[in-house]
Structures are given as C-alpha cells and as structure tokens.
Amino acid sequence: MSQGRTLTFNIFRYDPQEPGDKPKMVKYQIEEAPGMTVFIALNMLREKQDPSLQFDFVCRAGICGSCAMVINGFPTLACRTLTSKYPKAEITLMPLPGFELIGDLSVNTGKFMRELAERLKLWLHPKADEVDIHRIEAPMAPEEAAKLYELERCVECGVCVSACATKQMRDTFVGAVGMMKIARFELDSRDTRSVEDFYHVIGNQDGVFGCMTLLGCQDNCPKDLPHMQQIAYLRRKMATALV
C-alpha cells in the first residue's frame, strides 16, 4: 500500500502572460493519501503550497477531458491517474504539446477543437426536407445507435493530438479526433454526406492519407477509442472511392 509516501512532483511552470517569465521545472513535495489521483494532488498543491499553479479541470471523473496532461511521458487524464501507479513516487507533469499554452499545465484545447469542427463540418447534415421540428424523429436501429455511441465517447481531451508525431510535424493534419468524428457521421444513416463529400475533407495529406500509423492516438486515448481500426476503415473506404 502506498499510504504515507512522500510524492515528488516536477511540474512545468511558465506563464506566457507574465513579462520576463521563462519556462522552468519546479519541484513540489506532498504526502500521498489513499486513492489519490494526480488531479487530487494538484488541487492540494494549489490549495496549500502554490495558488498560482495553473491547470484545468471540471468533472474530476474522466468525462470532461479538461485535465489532460503529460504524466511521466504519457499523455493522459490527471483525474484518472492514481499516484500509486508510480513506485518511485516521482511524477513529472508537462502540458500537452501541440496546443496553445495558457499557462503551466493548462492548454487551449477548446480553440483547437472548435476550429477543427468548423473546418471538417462536424455536425449532422440531414436532408433539407427532413428538418421539421413538429414531426417525431424517426427511430434508429439499436445496432447503429450503439456503433455511433461508441464513437461519441470522445471527450475531446486532446491526448490523441499531442501523442501524434504526424500532427506535430504537420500543423494542418486533422488528427485522430477529427477522423473519429468524421467516421461517426459517415456511419450515421441520417447524414446525407456521400463518400465523395467525406473524401474532400479527409481524403488528402491532412487526413487519412497523411496519417503514418504511428498509433500514438491508439496507445494513449484515455477513453480507449478504437482509433487504429477506425482510421484503417476510413482509409480503405477512401481508397475504394478512388479505384
């Protein structure tokens, strides 16, 4: 049992808003409590040791995706990472690479996600004559709903984007989150977009044909979404559309 250990946190500190501030790693120590997560530890550090420490959180239950950060080299959610996982009691925290830094461990994933949604048109495109708010919505087959739900589990935490070296090298690459969401609408029978429409959005170097299958997305996604299978499915679909 890890109770009673002293945890050492090495935390990336930098406030771009503060003139003259330089990026640095700062060491903090804290007593470990039973069932402690990195998120709980960060809150305690902020409460008791350093109120200027910046990091994001909302739900503390792995649902909002706000507290994603790089923990000992692995991008994941702080609220779902138990400190007992680290036998050496040393934990290094870095902000997710590839996003605009707000300060310390806080990055602007929201701005990225919004721009991505607007660029890829990540919303349902129903038939024009089907939009009738007075009519009862047509039922969906449970199997189809289950498939869509599986892909809807994405919490937009940004882990797949920061874990993807392709995305870091090619700024315009849509990343696994973009492809996952496209796959979700491609599977939706209510969406009127054709393969050709999707091809124009992700059938290029910024989409499936630019993905190098490095699988940082698959290996780090905190929601265990099937990125590898999904991107392969889209790639086959787009390739079949060509021939």
């Binding site: 090298m169 290996d219 392969a232 559309a241």
Partner: protein, 221 residues
Amino acid sequence: MSLNNKKNLSGWLDMSQSLSGVILAVFLWTHLVLVSSILLGEDAMTFVAKTMELSFLSEDGHGYPWVVSLIAIGVGLLASIHVLVAMHKLPLSLQQQRALRQQMSVINHGDTKLWVWQAITGVGILLLLPVHLWLIGSAPETIGPAGSADRIWNQGVWMVYLPLLLCVELHAAIGIYRVAIKWGSERALNSRDRIKKIKTIVSVVFVVIGIASLLAFLPYA
C-alpha cells in the same frame, strides 16, 4: 462509388507507398533466401545464380546475365518510386524536425520511436542501395561463389553490404508491420502485439541469415 475528381493524388501516393514497399520487402526476403544458398555450399549457390540467369533456356547452359541487370534496374525503379512517395512523410524542414524532437522529448511512445528508426534506415538504404545495384547490375556475370566472395571480401564491399543488411532488414519488417495495421489487417486473432512480435523475429532471423551468408563467402575469397 468512384470519384469524379481524381486530381487529388494523395490517395494514390499513399497506396503506391504501401504497395511498392510490400513488393520490395517480398523481393528482399526472397533475394536473401536465394543468396543464403551459399550456406549449403558452392554447388547450391552456382545452381541458384545460373537459374536466375535463366540458364535452362540457353542451349550452352550459360544463361543470360543481363536478366540480372534487368532485375537490378527494376528494383532500382521501384525503390525510386518508394522513395519519392515516402519522402512526403519525412520531416524535411527544420521546423518539422524541431517539432518532432520537442514532442518526442516530452512523450514516450514506442511506435513513434520505431518510425524514427524506419526513417533513419530508409535514408541509409537510399545511400547504400545504389552502390549495391550498380555493382551487381554492371557485372551480373560475376555472381557466384568465387566472384561474389572476391567482391565482398577482397574488394571490401562487405563494408557496404553489412550496414545495408541491417538497414533493410529493420526497415522492411517495420514497414510490413505498419502496412498491416495501416490498412486494417489487425483483428482479434492476429493482434497488433502478435504482428509486432513476428516483425521482430523476421528482422532478427534475416539479419542472422545475412551475416551467416556473408561469412560463408569467406572460404571462396
């Protein structure tokens, strides 16, 4: 459904990269198995070399060494296509290299490291393969236990072949692993871990066969 707008080349480029890579890997492994006939002795190697020159089609049994030159040209062309399409994926600008270094310094990810090795060995092959193809393509009649042994050990070409062997065997196995998961051959039965294990075994086995074959030429030098 087929697309009206086929001007977008990226799909074709991606498919050509995978396809040319698979053909080159299959050729590579076949080639190494044929060369390893030296492990079975002088006669086996001579038989393979003559058969590759289509000796069974010529009346005097000497065959046509230019067939080997043609194969070398074909491999060179295919490798060129592979390089041209694969180059689009490499971090060519300083900015991209900096971004990659920065990300890899923060995030620890095995398959990304594997890809870096694939890129490094790819550049190694780009430098070494033309030498190999030129040596073989320009003197195909010398292929055989004595001729090859002379080339490898007396003329010092082992200094090209040894690094080339290590580069291609890593590059090809990692490449086939990536192609398999890229196009979705990953299923419950042939899981990614299993494919990855097979990849490592294939690399090791072929490097061992390759080094053993190079050493087996020593007595004929």
